[in-house]
Symmetry: C3
Subunit: 335 residues, 3 copies
C-alpha cells in the first residue's frame, strides 16, 4: 500500500466525472425478465439494428461522426453494435480508443439508440490461436478490457449489452480443442468482473462454432441470471429450409433465455467480399427476420460499412447495398 493511494484517488475522481457526464443519458436501463429483454416498465423490447465496423476504422475513414448515427437512426434501428478488435485497441492505445467509444455512446444515446460493446475476437482463448492477428488477445487482456468497460460505462444506460467474446471457434480443431465447461468458466469469470465493477448492462454469451451453436444450453447453461445468449446464423451455416435447423441449433433456447443474433446478413455471390458463409439472397432476409419476429428474437445486421462485407451501404452517402435495401425497408416497417 502507500504509493498507490494518490493514483487511486485520481482514478476515483475520473470515474466521478464520467458518472456526472453519463447521468445526462435518459434511456431506460434494459434488463432480463424471463426470456426477454425489458425496459423499466417491464415491456418487452426487441432490438433490431446493425453492427458498425470497428470505431477505429470509421474514425480513420472520417465517418465516426454524429451523422453516422443519424443515418443509423434514419434506417430505423434501435441498436448499434461496436466491434472492438483487440489489436485496434492496442494500436491506437486504450485511452485513445475509449474516447472513440465515449463519442459513439454519446451520439447513440442522444438519438435513443442502444449500444452493444463487442470484444471482437475470433478463435480459441485457451490455446491462444486466433483467425488473424487482428483478433489476437489473451484471457488477461480480455478480463482487463471488461473491467475497464464496466468501470467506465457500467451505469450508462445507453450501453445495454456487453458481448463478452465475439466468435469462439476451434475452426474444426485447427485452433485447438475447447470444451463447453472451459468456455462457461471463462464467461462466468468475465461476468463476475463486469458486475463487480459496476456493469449494470446485460452480458451476452456466444455459442460455439463461430457463435452459431447454442445446443449445449440443453444440458449445461451458465448458472447466472440476467444474461442473454448469442447466435450468428449466417445463411450458409445450414442449407435451406432453415427454420427447423435454426430451432434445433439455437432457436430452442428462446424458450428459456433472451436470444440476440448479434451478427447476421447476406450478399449475392457477385457482391464485393462475398464469402462463405454469407452468400445468399433476399429469401434469407425474409426467412430470418420472420423467424425472429415470430419469436421476439433480437437481431443485428453485419455490417454498417461500405468496405467490410457483407456491406450495408456502398458509398459515403450511405447508399444502401443489396442487403442494405432489404434491411432498411424492414427496420422501417417496425415503426
Amino acid at each position: 500500500m502507500g504509493l498507490h493511494l494518490k493514483l487511486f484517488v485520481l482514478a476515483c475522481t475520473s470515474l466521478l466525472s464520467f458518472s456526472t457526464i453519463l447521468a445526462q443519458q435518459s434511456l431506460d436501463r434494459i434488463t432480463v425478465k424471463g426470456n426477454s429483454f425489458v425496459n423499466q416498465k417491464g415491456d418487452t423490447i426487441v432490438f433490431r439494428g446493425m453492427s458498425s465496423s470497428d470505431p477505429d476504422k470509421l474514425k480513420n475513414d472520417g465517418l465516426w461522426t454524429k451523422q453516422y448515427f443519424e443515418e443509423i437512426k434514419d434506417w430505423g434501428a434501435n441498436l448499434v453494435r461496436f466491434p472492438v478488435h483487440p489489436k485496434r485497441v492496442r494500436d491506437r492505445g486504450l485511452q485513445e480508443y475509449l474516447k472513440l467509444l465515449d463519442d459513439g455512446i454519446k451520439w447513440a444515446g442522444e438519438l435513443g439508440i442502444y449500444v452493444v460493446i463487442d470484444w471482437h475476437s475470433i478463435g480459441n482463448l485457451y490455446t491462444g490461436i486466433y483467425l488473424l492477428d487482428i483478433y489476437d488477445t489473451t484471457q488477461k487482456e480480455t478480463f482487463n478490457f471488461w473491467r475497464t468497460i464496466a468501470q467506465r460505462y457500467g451505469k450508462n444506460t445507453t450501453v445495454a449489452f456487453y458481448e463478452i467474446f465475439n466468435e469462439p471457434t476451434t475452426d474444426q480443431n485447427r485452433f485447438g480443442a475447447l470444451d463447453w465447461d472451459s468456455w462457461k468458466a471463462f464467461n462466468k469469470q468475465a461476468i463476475t468482473i463486469i458486475r463487480a465493477n459496476g456493469g449494470e448492462g446485460i452480458p451476452l454469451v456466444a455459442g460455439f462454432n463461430w457463435a452459431y451453436d447454442l445446443t449445449p444450453l440443453k444440458f449445461s447453461p451458465l448458472d447466472i441470471e440476467g444474461i442473454g445468449y448469442v447466435s450468428h446464423p449466417y445463411p450458409q451455416k445450414r442449407a435451406k429450409p432453415w427454420e427447423e435447423k435454426w430451432t434445433r441449433d439455437w432457436g430452442f433456447a428462446k424458450n428459456n433465455y433472451p436470444i440476440i443474433l448479434t451478427e447476421m446478413g447476406f450478399c449475392g455471390p457477385e457482391d464485393p467480399g462475398a464469402h462463405v458463409p454469407v452468400i445468399s439472397d433476399e429469401s434469407y432476409g425474409t426467412a430470418i427476420t420472420q423467424y425472429c419476429d415470430q419469436r421476439q428474437i433480437s437481431y443485428v445486421v453485419w455490417v454498417f460499412d461500405m468496405d467490410w462485407a457483407p456491406n450495408m451501404y456502398t458509398d459515403k452517402k450511405f447508399t444502401p447495398s443489396r442487403q442494405g435495401k432489404f434491411f432498411k425497408q424492414k427496420f422501417n416497417s417496425y415503426q
Copy 2:
C-alpha cells in the same frame, strides 16, 4: 544440449562467486520450529521491523545507502522488508535491480538486521487483473523471479524470508474470483521452485482479502512444512474492539503456525496520504503491538519512507512521523 553449456558453466561460476561473498555473512539461519521462528540454537526469535519503500524508489531518492540501514538499526528494528514492485524490476532491468538488493542485503547483514524479500504485487494472479500497473505481473514472471532470488540469495542467512506475493485480492470480485485451492497451488509451486533452487529461507504465504484473512487455514492449510503465514491487519480492516476479530480472522493461526504481520501501521486522518484502511491513532499501535507481543507474533511497520503513506519519517533527516514516534519508542523498548 550443446549450445548452452558454456553459458551454464558461466552461470555456475557466478553463483560460486556469490556464495563466496555471501559466506562472509554471519547471521544465524532462521527456521521454523512448531509455531515459531527460531535461530540455530532453537531460541524463538520475534521480529519487529519496518518495510522500506521500493529499493528502486530509494535509489532514485539518494537514500539507498548504508546510512538508511543504520537509521533502521538505530530505531531498534531487527528486520527490514524490501517491497519489490514487478514494474520497477522490469523498468530498471532485472540485473540492475538485483544490484540494489545485493547492496541492501549486505548493509542489513552487516548491521545484524534480517531481510524479507517481498514480491510486491496486489491483485489476482489467475485473471491477471491488478490494482495498478506497478503491480502488474504474471505467474510466469513470478516463478522466474523466485528462481532468481533463490539461486542468488538462497544460502544467504540475512535473507530470512521470501514473501511470495504481497496482497492477493479479488477486490470484492472486481479483479475476478479466486478460490483458496488455486491460491494454495500457486504458492506450493512457488515454494517448490524456491527450495529446489537452494532457497533456505522461510517462504511466507499471504491470506486473502489484501493479505488480511487467514480463516481458510482452519480447514485447508498448505501441506508444506517450514513456512510462515502473513496477515496485514491495518486498523480499518475491522472496527474496534479489535482483539476478538483479530483472533478469529488470523490470530488463531498462531496456535499452529508462525505468523508475521508483514504490513501494519497507521496515520491520523490529517496526515499526508491518509486513506482507508490505515487511518487510526496510537490506540491502534498499542493494541496491535500488545496483541503481537502476548503471542510472539512478528510484525513489520509500513513504511520507512517520507513520501509513501503512512510514512514513518518526514524528511531526509529521518525525523519520525506520528506513527514513527510510536514505533521508534516501541522498537527500542524491546532492547
Copy 3:
C-alpha cells in the same frame, strides 16, 4: 466476419502455391504401423541420422547450403533433425525463419533425406521456467508454431516428424513441478492442432527428465494413434552397464510404440564443450547403436555442427570429430 475475408483468401492462395511446390517431392509418406515406422509399402524404416544445429546459426555461419545436406547424405544418414529454438524464430522473424526451413526441407528431400522439425525448448511449459532465454516460449507460441508448420509442411512427405517439445524437464523441480497428466494434455492439444491443420507427419512426444524417461507409458500412454515416443539417452544419464537400465527406462516402450532417440552422442572429457551428461567414449557408441539395431529403434546423433557440443565435425571441411568418426562409419555400415 467481413474484414478478414480478403486476407483469408490470400492465405489460402499462398497455401496452394506451397502445395504445388511441395508436390514435387517424391519421398514416401512415413506412417506408424504397430511399433514401427513404415513406408507406403508397409516396410519398416529405421532412421539413423543427425541433428543439425539451429538453421539460423548455420545460416549465419554460411553453412545453410545444399552442400551441408550433401555432406549429411555422404555420411550415410537418412534423417536430419532441425532444432528450432523459439528465441531464434522471434529474433529472425517467423516469415524469414520459415524460408530457412523451406530451403533445408527442399535440399533434404532432393537427397532422399527425411526431416524432423523439433521445437527446441528445454524447461517447464506450465511454470514458464526454461533453462536459458533461448529456450523461452509459451504454450500459446508453441501451439501457434505447430499450426504454422502443419499448414506449411503438412502434406510435404519429406517432413516425416514433428517433435512437439524437445526436452521437458523440471530440473529436479528447479523449474517447478510438472505432472504427467498435464504433459499429456499439452501434447494432445498440440497433436490435435497439427492434425486439424493438415499435418500428416508423425508427432513425437518426449519423455520426462530432459526427454529421457518414458516409464509413465507403463501406466498412462497418450490415447492417440500414430505417434512416436522420444528418449535422449546420453551416456551419463545412467552408469554402465547401460542396457538393463535403458530397457527399464525407455527401451521397454518399443514393445508397443515406435521409439526414436532424437538426441544421443558422446565426446571425450578433453573435447571442446564436454559436459555432463555427454562425456563417454566409443563404448557408448557401440552399446547404444547395438541396442537400437537389435530392436529397430531409430536414432539421431547430436550435433552436426563444429561449435556446438558434442560436435560431429571440427572445421568447415566437415572433418569428423571423435564421435563423428564413429558415427560416420556406423551410418555407412547400414548401406
